[in-house]
Symmetry: C2
């Protein structure tokens, strides 16, 4: 396995791909190009969850895919063990603002394509798998890849950074749902409204964006016939990103005739990741009924990005 860090921008050490690239072997059809999955961990655009990075990439690698974890621009950097409740006084990374992380992901796709020959990647068969805010990022590339602004910003042809599929895990797709939810739970748990404001500082550079601004980054509003097929899962009682994010995105795909698969599990807090004991940060992150999402996702990959 080629496990290395590939920096995406010449002047930025914080944005990079970590590769999980299969060794070639003369026991396979040598020189065969494999499809790949780019994993985008979540973290409210404030940081990146380790639990949603390497452990997930290893699953796709074990299933026969090349895999990558993308460290995209976040407001504070670091992982989820950092303290996010630090108020708005500490200065954050302006690259975390939309569409900063989307440019990172587009650049990642171009970088994979540029290295496709030596890495033996089928560059037209690269899916993006994202969790929570990383799911928002994955979905954003899914809906915006045909847009002129991205081609101009990346200096590349749109189809060169088109994802072949989306795997969206408790993804944020509808910022209006998030706003309503943040307001509803304001009394129950004031920390959540703080998180909403803080994440908004990262994405919008202001704590209370306008409805227009929220609509602009809501991927549900930009689904088109060109959005790639999606595999989506969520828990019905997600306590941070309501399941209607999944309902709305899936309904938008169905309306446009885009293939989609949706699995809503009954129970589980936000941020389950693989939901198994090997990568749980606390006991409630082990969830037997949810674990099957990975098997379902790999079966879905097998149909849309077949290995042979």
């Amino acid at each position: 396995m080629r496990a290395e860090r590939v920096v995406l921008w010449p002047d930025r050490e914080d944005v990079f791909l970590t590769t999980y690239i299969h060794d070639d072997s003369s026991e396979y059809p040598s020189g065969r190009r494999r499809p790949a999955v780019v994993v985008c961990p979540g973290g409210a655009y404030l940081g990146l969850s380790d639990r949603e990075g390497e452990p997930v990439a290893l699953q796709f690698a074990a299933a026969g895919y090349h895999a990558f974890v993308l460290n995209y621009s976040t407001f504070f950097g670091g992982n989820m063990a950092g303290n996010f409740d630090i108020g708005a006084t500490r200065e954050g990374n302006p690259h975390a603002a939309f569409p900063g992380p989307l440019l990172d992901l587009g650049k990642a796709m171009l970088t994979i394509r540029a290295n496709a020959g030596r890495w033996l990647v089928d560059a037209d068969q690269v899916a993006v798998c994202g969790f929570s805010a990383g799911g928002h990022l994955a979905a954003s590339l899914g809906v915006h890849w045909p847009d002129l602004f991205l081609a101009e910003a990346l200096g590349a042809a749109n189809h060169d950074f088109r994802p072949a599929g989306l795997i969206l895990c408790y993804a944020l797709t509808d910022y209006l749902v998030m706003k309503r939810s943040a307001e509803l739970i304001r009394k129950a748990d004031p920390r959540l409204i703080d998180l909403w404001h803080l994440s908004n500082l990262a994405v919008f550079q202001k704590p209370e964006p306008s409805l227009d601004e929220l609509n602009r980054v809501s991927t549900v509003n930009h689904v088109s016939e060109q959005t790639p097929p999606a595999f989506i899962w969520h828990t019905a009682d997600d306590d941070l990103v309501p399941v209607s994010n999944a309902f709305h995105f899936a309904a938008a795909l169905v309306e446009k005739g885009v293939p989609c698969e949706l699995h809503v599990f009954e129970n589980g807090p936000h941020g389950l990741g693989l939901a198994d004991a090997g990568y749980a940060g606390k006991p409630e992150q082990v969830n037997e009924p949810v674990r099957i999402w990975l098997q379902l996702a790999i079966a879905w990959l097998g149909r849309h990005l077949p290995l042979a």
Copy 2:
């Protein structure tokens, strides 16, 4: 196994339960009462699909549950091999009109309770599994079981016919969605609008019910905190009952805090049933990615109606 036909109304031979009741044995904890599943086949309230009856009951029986298939009132009787394109001239069964089949299902629940001792059923742990129109029927009991009109019509206490859970397979739950869909596809396939009108004759005794009438039988409008937990599946490209029926019902459950699990598979025509080769009527009814619904449903049953 006790496999027998139990007629539900003294003067009606067409409405009956078929039982799939486990033999007791001194090798088990003898006298143990098992939970049960009542299966309601689909058929647009015009007839009943054999593919959604016994084959499904046998799965639940094999998983350790007592099982029943309900032959409820339909407009023409018979199975799906009958010809439904026969226009409105042939006289149909008036008992098929709402809430006729719902009374049949309520009576089935009461009959199971009345026989719970000799059949060794845990009468408080009886789920209802319905397909298509049978899913509408199952969901109707799920939302209406607390209603006075049912208690009065059945002459029983509401909780005596309360289902412990719902398994809804490509169920019709929102008649407004159906009306829009029927109008949209009118040009593409005129037979579907005929089916819509014919099924309406069965349910409403008129081909074009008013919006009020459609809203009355739309189970999405009647979900409450008293609706039991539900397991729901559908295909995203269902060509007869749009997947938004599933989205809307699941969203209504989530809004009321009722536990729900939803699986939307990417492909498959309406009426897949078990989706396996053993019970397919035509090749497109074999669907490998969809088959897992049964395993997921049995796991869900194991959590909500545990066997021990």
